[in-house]
């Protein structure tokens, strides 16, 4: 079970979502993907997609306008 970071700082929608989808597909069940974003739109669509897909999601505000979206792949 590994943890992978994905730097999407400075990237606008839908780039972070597309990158995250690709990256998560490469991971194993139980792995954790941490997507770093600073675009408030990604802060909405990224967790929404991951949640709808059934993964565990947590969003952490790491700085002013900067978030880590933490996704645990469950299937």
């Amino acid at each position: 079970m590994k943890e992978v970071e994905l730097d999407c700082l400075g990237e606008a929608c839908p780039v972070p979502l597309v990158k995250a989808q690709k990256k998560l597909a490469e991971l194993e069940i139980g792995d954790i993907l941490i997507v770093q974003i600073d675009h408030s739109c990604a802060m909405k669509n990224l967790p929404e997609w991951a949640r709808t897909d059934g993964h565990n999601v947590e969003v952490e505000e790491v700085g002013d306008g900067e978030w880590d979206v933490i996704i645990e792949k469950v299937k």
Binding site: M1, K44, P47, E48, R51, N56, V57, E58, V59, E60, E61, I70, E72
Partner: protein, 411 residues
């Protein structure tokens, strides 16, 4: 399994909508270490509303999101912490309660449940396929503009269905409403009903429910079923708006709290649930009116209740159930003269035993909650004796010789 990180808080609030944020503001201001856990966006259901015109203090109406951002900022100003994730499970029966998310276990003295609800769906065939962005919507405000000059369907006839339906006529060329009742009968208020029936862009399909949703990638058709004749009726629609009520988010509490048939949590007027230290507020409660204004009222009561509960717990543990001396807890009522008159005599006894006995008074006229913590249904003029912080005996014999003898036997 990864090891979950444990964190301690005074109060954990489940849900970051209007009621949860208000509770957070009160807890934060009372200097309680407070955490709000929200699974989606801070602000809750109110953020789906484009215009909030009836929240007092904002005469120039603002969007739900703008209003909720102000709530959020105010809670942050009082030092409230936020976590954006789902609560997986709760354990609330002990004095220290546990709220579990996928990476943490939060331990706390008080849990405030403000988890609200979500839109109810019809359960018709293929509904799942088209939910939210594929043609089935629950928010006219969000999706009306995208339906300019299109044909839309509305399911339901309550206030939300009809008022949002009329709002949609400002954009769509036609709004077709499926109503479960007989011709002319709706669940909404009379004013809305009269306006809707007079609106040339609105068309009604009486006695109908949704049988299925059809389409390729996106929704194209809604198949209605007539409840009287059983006949199917195909309606071409670009978007279907469902306004058939809300489902409370109470699944994770169902084994620990009593819920109503619809899944709402019942509380008393102080927002207390059946479990000490567990409060519920906002849309999750069984109540009459679900508005931002009522959520704020609920949240403030729950927040103050949490603060009082924690203060009382500390007082009970450190003072009433003290471990240093033999304890004598006298239950009286401020409005019961005979029970009041015994107090000087008891103070004399405490003095006579010098530093070996500690006397505490509980006034049940002020409230039963301290007495309830002794797990008793005691009436005034009852004395509880404790040793090492544990109740050894309870007695209604308040004669001086009996008390002195009892205390001597405990020393």
């Amino acid at each position: 399994m990864r090891e979950k990180t444990r964190e301690r808080y005074d109060v954990v609030i489940i849900g970051g909508g209007a009621s949860g944020l208000t509770a957070a503001i009160y807890c934060g201001r009372a200097r309680l270490n407070t955490l709000v856990i929200e699974k989606a966006l801070i602000g809750g259901l109110a953020t789906y509303t484009n215009e909030i015109g009836n929240f007092p203090g904002f005469p120039d109406s603002l969007t739900g999101l703008e209003l909720m951002n102000k709530f959020h900022q105010q809670a942050k100003n009082f030092g409230v912490n936020f976590k954006l994730t789902d609560v997986k499970s709760v354990r609330m029966e002990n004095e220290i309660k546990e709220v579990e998310t996928f990476r943490n276990i939060f331990e706390c003295k008080v849990v405030i449940i403000a988890s609200g609800g979500r839109p109810r769906t019809t359960g018709a065939v293929n509904e799942e396929k088209f939910l939210f962005d594929k043609g089935i919507s629950f928010c006219a405000t969000c999706d009306a503009a995208a339906n300019t000059d299109k044909t839309v369907m509305v399911i339901g006839s309550g206030d939300a269905a009809i008022e949002e339906g009329m709002f949609l006529t400002k954009f769509a060329k036609k709004v077709i409403v499926s109503v479960i009742h007989d011709t002319g009968k709706m669940d909404c208020n009379e004013i809305a009903k009269a306006q809707a029936l007079a609106n040339p862009k609105m068309e009604f399909k009486w006695n109908t429910v949704v049988n299925s949703f059809e389409g390729e990638e996106r929704l194209e058709k809604v198949i209605l079923k007539n409840l009287k004749t059983g006949a199917l009726d195909t309606v071409i629609a670009d978007t279907c708006f469902e306004f058939i009520g809300y489902l409370p988010n109470s699944e994770i509490f169902k084994d620990q709290l009593k819920l109503t048939k619809q899944g709402y949590i019942t509380t008393d007027e102080k927002m207390r649930t059946d479990i000490p230290g567990v409060f519920a507020c906002g849309d999750i409660r069984e109540k009459e009116l679900k508005q931002v204004a009522t959520a704020v009222g609920d949240g403030s009561i729950a927040g103050v209740g949490a603060e009082k509960y924690i203060a009382e717990s500390e007082m009970f543990r450190n003072q009433i159930m003290q471990k240093e001396k033999i304890g004598m807890i006298y239950i009286y009522s401020a409005i019961d003269a005979p029970s009041r008159e015994l107090m000087p005599m008891l103070q004399e006894i405490e003095k006579e035993f010098e530093d070996k006995v500690k006397l505490n008074f509980i006034d049940i006229y002020k409230g039963r909650s301290l007495c309830d913590r002794l797990d008793c249904t005691a009436s005034p003029m009852t004395i509880f004796y404790t040793k090492d912080g544990v109740v050894i005996d309870g007695s209604m014999d308040c004669s001086k010789p009996a008390i002195v003898e009892k205390l001597k036997s405990l020393i």
